[in-house]
Amino acid sequence: MIRKSLTAMALVAASPFASAQSVSMCVFDVIGANGDFYNFVKDYALEMKGHGVDFQLKPYTDEGVAIGDFNAGQCDAVAATDIRIRPFNKFTGSISAVGAIPTYDNLKTLLATLAQPKAAPLMKDNGYEVLGIVPVGAGYLFVNDRSIDTAGELAGKRMATLDYQKDAIHMVNYVKATVVPSDITNFAGKFNNGSVDTAYAPAFAYEALELYKGIGDQGGVVDYPLAQLTLQMVARDEVLDDETAQKAREVAWGMFPQAMNLIEKQEAAIPDGKWVRIPEKDIRGYQEMFRENRIEMRDGVNGAPDVYHPKMMGLLSKIRCASNPSAAECTAANRE
């Protein structure tokens, strides 16, 4: 009891506003505290201060280390990409499922849906709670030869693949391309020096990591979102009460236009001529291929890893069919 009140007094002395709850957050951004997304989380933190939570942010340029520190209890919350969030919440960690969100409008619908109070139970899993989801941009396929514009063309091609991204590895194997294990720090170099033929990344990488060098005169960026990457804020469940956690998710959702503004700018930095537009009939083929893979990775069959949450796959399918009811998948027998 005495110890508790001493701690409380120490807290009062340390902060002039004892009413604001202090929560430490490890924040991943490829370029640290001067990165676009770290700055974005700063805005989120400021907004949350108005709701009584004082986030203390710490930048990390290595996502694995950020997650490690969160696991080790060095921070109460973490902001990292969807793929790394999967162990804490398989449902929201499945947002980046391959080809599951073909447009930013679909993504908008999804994030609006998840920000509703009704979705709160889905945000808790395993003793952790998701405090907000922010888009980082779609992942695109970068190729060193424009003729690699169909899944068939990928066969035999070397592809830089994040070694911890099980679903991507499965997809690369599925299209009979060769997995070249990589991480965020070296995939661009491999693409630029020609040791791989293709890589996938958000538009941000085109300029910052000089992927145009790997693209050269012959290559391009395939204009079809392979997956939607999101940054998710996750905390241990006991850190925030339910009402505040819901507020946090609404705050993050309220920042959607700001994030999209950033993404649109990054995509606009890719010159028009560098985009590889693919014909509508090919897109339909792609969609079916992705869908079959998602089902495999939802059910963990045919040697696929069991990584996608069935409820998220169902919700995403509903969203796609609401915006495009004539798609074949909407009447398929094995709808997600």
């Binding site: 506003f17 340029t61 170099g189």
Partner: protein, 354 residues
Amino acid sequence: MISTLVTFSRRISVAPLKLLTAGALILLAGCSANPIYTTTGVVLSNYSEGEATPYVLQMSDPKMACALGEGIDPLLYSFSRVTDAPDSTGSLLMLLAGNCAEYKAWEAELAYLRADYQGNVEAAKDAREEAKRLNALTAKRRYASFQRAMAAYEFDPSVEPVECPFLFSEQDELTFLLGLLTGMQAIVNDANSGAMAGVPKNIAPQAERAATCLDNEKWGGMPNAIRALVWLLLPDTRPALSPDPWQVLEHSTELGAEKGMRVPHALQAVAAETFGRPEKLEEAIASFVEANATIDVWDEYRLVDEVAAGVIRFSSDKHWSANYGYRTPQTYFGKMSPERETENVETMSLDGLL
């Protein structure tokens, strides 16, 4: 009525004279601009480069220098309409103008941190928004400065392998080097603006390559400090067998202090903030302050050291404002907390006196 007639008759008599003069000028100048303007432009450009720039680089008042940049840049650079663009001086003037915008952005940032510390969310938001706008302005000016510095030496930073520019004088070398540094700063400012300025991020790897064109020892570790910062940001750019970037930064601060130009300290502080390394930040600030006692500032380029001092002081002020709600008290510059050193001092017994 009469006065109108007089004016009219005057106009008639003056008109042929004006026509003649205009004709002569056109002949003199071919069909291009006014020759007096062209000559003035050449004279001013040469004067700026030969006299004004060395003078300004020796100044010890960065705020006055930045005001000069804001005030003179539009005038001097307007001569690019009548003669070759005065890019080398133009890049330095725009660099100074960028500093002016940044000083305002710093104040807004500190106001945000103070308000945040006090829990005044509205004031914090307002100040942060102000800081973002000013960062965007700074980023735009710095990007322009970078572009001019590259144009001045006909250097294309995107060409690989890098083709080093011809830098005839020491001042050229410094202008080029500062151009690279300013380009890097533009990226940081743009990120802090919420990407309002749209500065291309590939400046960072380009600057890394171009920095190899300069003598690291001669320039007090500045070129390698730039490279090390980029290696940290983009690990892909780090050559095989190169030393740890943090070590390079530390070594660069030593070289910088020896040469009397502490830019590497400022880069070390920026890196420490970017990568969330408080111990490195403390080290950078403390060693900058310690060097005050021993350093012999490179007189010809005193301004560069002063600008770096401003960056270090701002880093310290940010830390103090975020953690204590006020900027660094003068006697605490070099320390990260208000712990006094007056607690464990030996005292004498007063028993015999009482």
